[in-house]
Amino acid sequence: MTELPRSYADRDAVARSFDLFGFLSRYGTVIALVLLVAFNLAFTRNFATMQTLNVNLTQVCTIVIVAVGMTLVIATGGIDLSVGSLMAISGALAPMIFLGKILPIGSIYLNVAAAMIMSVLVAGLLGLFNGWLVARFRIQPIVATLVLFIAGRGIAQVMTNGNLQTFRVPEFQWIGLARPLDIPAQVIIMAVIVAAAAWALKKTLFGRCILAVGGNERASELAGIAVSRIKLAVYGISGLCAGLAGLIVIAINSSSDANLVGLGMELDAIAAVAVGGTLLSGGKATIVGTLLGALTIQLVRYTLLANGVPDAAALVVKAGIIALAVWLQQQHRG
């Protein structure tokens, strides 16, 4: 026996009056970003330059790419803690292939192509493994992805014997260093991924199913949606994104250190998703919001650093912003 339902009248009344929290949770990220840019234009020297833009975009790229996959996972009501470790695996595997340590292929182009495809695919497969744990065994996502969060970095270290791999292979490193039309290559990759994901989430059957599963899993199942397959897919995509981000990181650094590649990335990505306005409980997600969220966090850090605030203090501010964003969401929902 259940309690009588709350009256709908109460809710309607709330919905009709102007909802400040709702407004802030929807546009807060944009407002924050505009304020930050305005502040910097006024107080930070040499802010309005292409260089500043490129520095910020380059730094935020990998976070955004990983956060796109994370947004899809979170939209289904899940979470993926393994992304940082998957970046390390992909980052460790790629140099082994293009330096010819595994398969001696003659042509450097073939080597690089094989390295890129293989390492991203491996990360994608490991993502599918996450999805399999979540969908097939109904393990809580935070626990299921903890498996590879812990094991993944270990695997990467074993693969490389814990050694730093350094290289100078321009045929590969264009992914992090090339600047067609004066735009960093990874910014273009990021833009393409963001656009594709935003389109998919809004306009495709797959996107609609993701949101339905996150919004009400049992209703989705009863409506005939293949819930397990959707979950497999989002974790797989999250793995692919992490794999790609791993390649970009090692390309920029000209080296791959399994200890460091993607370290802490899962938290940066989740933070970007949360600040961007995606519901952490699933069912409501925005890819563009995630992009804005990542940019906001990045710009706060840049602003503080450019104005002489130490990085340690910047971290505290970052935490404050995340707390604020999540709090706003709560108010809106409650």
């Binding site: 009588l4 809710r11 306009k203 059957l205 609609r208 199913c209 949101l211 989705s220 005939g224 069912g283």
Partner: protein
């Protein structure tokens, strides 16, 4: 059936005129309950009658707005279930709320551990646990984790724990729902033992036969009120059911629903049939046929297995016994998607839990099942979505600000229409409607009833579950009565009346000659 040997024993619990509102909505209007020492007292009522609320008020989980509770002659005022327990009222819930990974002893002694020199005295606690269990002639290794034992044994442990608090009154909320027949027998033995020791029991159950087997007295609630209090041996099953549903067995009223006249000529051949359907304890043998253009009604009390059967038909749960055929061929759905492919739709009774996707819009909710059909190469055809949505908003008269309004902002009746539209858009052959008009206002209710009749007239087969008797009797062309997971009676609408349906719900057969107990 047993009675205290000599005369009425003193009143142990006396609850008078309890009132309780939640957010302004009355849950208890005028609830009273009196229990004597050593009495097993049945508390029954339909969903939402207020049984659970009354128990939660008694055990301090909710605070009453008005009324009086006397326990052992003194006013009883507690603020938490734990406090109630310490004061002699223990509750055993349907789901056993013990700690499965800890030992039996730890579970029994949780909250009143024995100490010696400031340390836990395990020997004393093991002995205490064994002593309590031996009262029910249960011998078990009390050092083993509780989770290793079966449900019935765990329930015994829960009862032993309750009595360990020197309970004077034990409340059992549907204790038999997860037990098999033998286990129920053991539980009843324990209840009789309690009774012999002068402990009173409040027994909440939907299984009528059990009440007659073990209870002395019964209190019936409806719509937050206590409507009847009687000795078990003085009240027949039929009377019991009638009181729960608020029907006068003799009186048959005029039309209370908006289904309108049925047109039997439109009913076609058998489309779907089920034989001996079973799954676990909830469904133990359900057989029925459904014809084209026919509304088949499932009647039965709570726990009779109606929803569970519907879920088997739709593939939401899997049957482990019986056979189904759909349009002449074998039908064995593994998941809802299989049922949908076969041409079925399912409107759940749990609209919020498994019907609507609250954060999504009316349009998105309406097209949820239709998605594959309105997309090309995985891309949604927004033009077609708009057309479908606008058509159904118009045809069903869904009141919303537009297709993009969040569905959670709609009234219950309009949410229900969105869910109906979700399936009608699929152009189904068979539609399962579980409590299609529950919790919605009178106007929308009439509209939905007219709609259901109209759909059947167009050749759709409808399987309708309803706890409202008039909805079944006036709406259905054929009525199947389920009782304890078995389809016990089939009635043609022309032959059906309230008395027959009630009798079947109570006794398992429509023959009114067996009405006297």
């Amino acid at each position: 059936m047993t009675r205290p040997p000599d005369g009425p024993s003193p009143l142990l619990l006396d609850i008078r005129d309890i009132q309780k509102r939640f957010a302004g909505i009355p849950a208890l209007v005028d609830a009273s309950l009196s229990v004597r020492s050593g009495e097993v007292h049945a508390l029954i009522g339909q969903n939402g009658a207020g049984k659970s609320t009354l128990i939660k008020v008694l055990t301090g989980y909710h605070r009453k707005d008005a009324g009086q509770v006397l326990f052992e002659g003194k006013p009883f005022e507690v603020h938490s279930p734990h406090q109630a327990q310490v004061n002699g009222i223990s509750t055993i819930y349907q789901e056993i709320n013990l700690v499965p990974l800890r030992s039996v002893t730890e579970n029994i002694c949780l909250g009143r551990e024995k100490r010696r020199y400031g340390l836990l005295d395990w020997n004393a606690m093991h002995a205490e646990a064994e002593r309590l269990l031996s009262r029910f002639s249960i011998g078990m290794d009390v050092g083993r984790p509780l989770g290793e034992f079966n449900t019935a044994t765990q329930q015994m442990v829960a009862i032993a724990r309750a009595i360990g608090f020197s309970a004077r009154l034990v409340i059992m909320d549907e204790p038999t729902s997860s037990l098999d027949e033998r286990e129920v027998g053991v539980l009843f033995g324990v209840i009789r033992q309690l009774k012999a020791e002068g402990v009173s029991v409040i027994f909440v159950s939907h299984k009528l036969d059990e009440l007659y087997e073990v209870c002395d007295q019964v209190t019936i609630m409806r719509d937050g009120r206590t409507v009847r209090n009687a000795a078990m041996e003085e009240i027949g099953k039929l009377e019991l059911v009638a009181a729960m549903l608020g029907r006068d067995v003799a009186a048959v009223e005029g039309h209370a629903t908006a289904f309108g006249e049925r047109d039997r000529s439109r009913i076609g051949d058998v489309m779907f049939s089920a034989r001996g359907l079973g799954a676990g304890q909830a469904v133990r043998g359900v057989s029925f046929d459904l014809r084209r253009g026919e509304i088949a009604g499932f009647a039965g009390l709570l726990g009779a297995g109606r929803t569970e059967t519907a879920r088997l038909v739709f593939g939401a749960d899997r049957a482990n016994a019986g056979e189904m055929t759909m349009e002449g061929s074998n039908y064995n759905p593994q998941r809802p998607a299989d049922a949908i492919v076969a041409g079925m739709g399912f409107c759940t009774e749990d609209r919020k839990g498994e019907g609507i996707v609250p954060e999504m819009t009316v349009a998105e909710n309406l097209t949820l099942a239709l998605l594959p059909k309105i997309s090309r190469n995985g891309v949604l055809d927004e033009q077609r979505q708009r057309e479908v949505v606008q058509r159904f908003i118009r045809e069903l008269g869904i009141k919303c600000s537009g297709p993009n309004q969040k569905v959670r902002e709609l009234s219950g009746g309009n949410q229900q229409k969105v869910l109906l539209a979700r399936w009608l858009a699929m152009n189904p052959k068979l539609l399962i409607l579980d409590e299609p008009t529950r919790g919605i206002d009178v106007g929308a209710k009439g509209e939905i009833q007219r709609l259901i009749r109209g759909l059947a007239d167009q050749g759709l087969g409808v399987l309708m579950i309803s706890s409202e008797l008039e909805e079944i009797i006036e709406g259905a062309d054929r009525i199947f009565v389920l009782r304890d997971g078995v389809s016990v009676t089939e009635l043609e609408a022309e032959d059906a009346n309230e008395e027959k349906v009630l009798t079947a719900m109570a006794h398992g057969t429509s023959a009114s000659s067996e009405a006297a107990t």
